[in-house]
């Protein structure tokens, strides 16, 4: 089998793993690293449930090979909270009821997290475009958009509090 050693920084931890070259990142995370936050939805890069952060960009982990992450910084939804304290995006989804069944939520959170890093004060239209690669079959998106707006405010408040 075509196995390779892959080193990466995964949620702040340096790891080194033997990976089959054909293993998709989402399977590597879920099955080899036991990080089941990134979900397998459509497996065709449409639904966004598997979205993770690679080197500061949102990527669909179902259409990315684990071996491609060698030397990269990878962040999953498990790396979002800080020692049991929810990230502002998670807090906002919880407060605004930005989820029902929760299946799309890890992807929504990771996309929202990166989107707000790049655009800290978005308009509603920008939020909807920013989240257009993530599908939700429950909420109708209204509360998700509200949650991202609320998270933007929370993050800005945190920023000004520490400034």
């Amino acid at each position: 089998m075509a196995k390779q050693i892959v080193k990466m920084n995964l949620n702040g931890q340096e790891i080194e793993q033997l990976v089959d070259s054909r293993t998709l990142l989402v399977h590597f995370l879920r099955e080899q690293m036991n990080l089941t936050g990134a979900h397998i939805g459509c497996e065709t890069s449409h639904c966004g449930a598997c979205t993770v952060d690679i080197d500061g960009e949102s990527v669909k982990a179902c259409t990315h090979l684990a071996v491609q992450c060698d030397g990269c910084e990878v962040k999953t939804v498990e790396g979002l909270a800080d020692g049991g304290i929810l990230h502002a995006v998670q807090e906002a989804f919880y407060e605004e009821h930005g989820l029902q069944c929760g299946y799309c939520t890890p992807g929504m959170l990771m996309t929202s997290y990166r989107f707000l890093q790049n655009n800290p004060n978005p308009t509603e239209d920008e939020i909807r475009v920013g989240l257009s690669g993530n599908l939700c079959r429950c909420t109708g998106y209204q509360n998700i958009v509200k949650a991202v707006k609320s998270a933007a405010v929370k993050l800005q408040q945190k920023e000004s509090a520490t400034a």
Binding site: S21, L24, E43, T51, V67
Partner: protein, 287 residues
């Protein structure tokens, strides 16, 4: 769905990549953004024994200006195209159209070169390349060569690239001063391919059309340039009647494949609509 087994190679230069392709032969495929190839591998439509990942070749990324040439590295991502200041100023059709490709996450991985080299008539960059008179730079075992977009797309999944070639650069020129442009894409949802799409670049001189390109996506076995439609408008002071005539000429060359997006008649009718909308929008942007 997991792709079939393969050996993974990650060259760090174009030379190394070409060497790998030459030694591995027809069992090797290039891995660019992977958002066409990996899905095809999952479905066993492609079963390469070797993948040559060209994501870590720095010279293939980014946009640079040399004289009056704007050179776009083939591995420049769609989001990098959207954000690039040179493209936004000189060839604004490309960033505007790239916003209509796939979705935000896919645009982080998907590349302009991958979109072109795949040879899929449903991809958007082939028609955009035709509209911009792009020149493709290709690296192969015998050195590099250049092929204009008009001679690059030979058929569905069939381009001027040989198995041992890599598309390295896409070269375009700045649009004529004051040119208008538009890309109108009818799609069912975010992330979908075009049911029908049309790119237009137009410039006026003394109120008459002095430069015009009308190109079509997903309306035939390759992207199409609607020469006869352009001829209807060239040298003319454009009015609604001429725009309808141009759209009718463009519809004549449409030969779309029937699929879930519609039958040939519907897609051709939508092509006519996209052409009219794109011409109108491009004219409105002329300054």
């Amino acid at each position: 769905m997991i792709p079939p087994s393969f050996e993974y190679h990650r060259p760090s230069s174009v030379e190394e990549a070409v060497g790998l392709l030459s030694s591995l032969g027809s069992e090797a495929k290039i891995l660019a953004g992977g958002h066409s190839l990996l899905p095809m591998m999952k479905l066993r439509f492609a079963e390469p024994e070797h993948l040559v990942d060209i994501n870590r070749i720095p010279e293939l990324k980014g946009v640079r200006v040399v004289g009056d040439n704007i050179i776009i590295g083939a591995m420049t991502s769609e989001n990098a195209v959207i954000a690039d200041p040179v493209l936004n100023e000189k060839v604004p059709l490309l960033p505007e159209a790239a916003k209509l490709i796939a979705d935000p996450q896919v645009r982080n991985r998907g590349t302009i070169g991958g979109d072109i080299a795949h040879g899929d008539p449903a991809n958007d960059h082939p028609a955009l390349a035709l509209a911009c008179d792009a020149i493709m730079t290709i690296a192969g075992p015998n050195g590099t060569r250049q092929v204009p977009a008009s001679e690059f797309f030979l058929g569905t999944y069939w381009t001027a690239l040989e198995e041992t070639d890599i598309l390295t650069e896409i070269t375009v020129k700045a649009f004529p001063q004051g040119a208008g442009y538009a890309y109108k894409k009818l799609k069912r949802k975010t992330g979908d391919w075009a049911t029908a799409a049309c790119a237009v670049v137009v410039a006026l001189s003394g109120g008459s059309v002095s430069h015009i390109r009308i190109t079509l996506t997903n309306l035939g076995p390759t992207a199409l340039r609607a020469h006869d439609a352009e001829s209807v408008l060239m040298g003319q002071s454009v009015n609604d009647d001429l725009i309808r005539q141009a759209a009718a000429k463009a519809m004549e060359i449409c030969d779309p494949a029937e699929d879930l997006r519609g039958d040939a008649e519907y897609k051709t009718a939508m092509a006519g609509q996209m052409v009219q909308r794109a011409i109108n929008e491009a004219l409105a942007k002329v300054s």
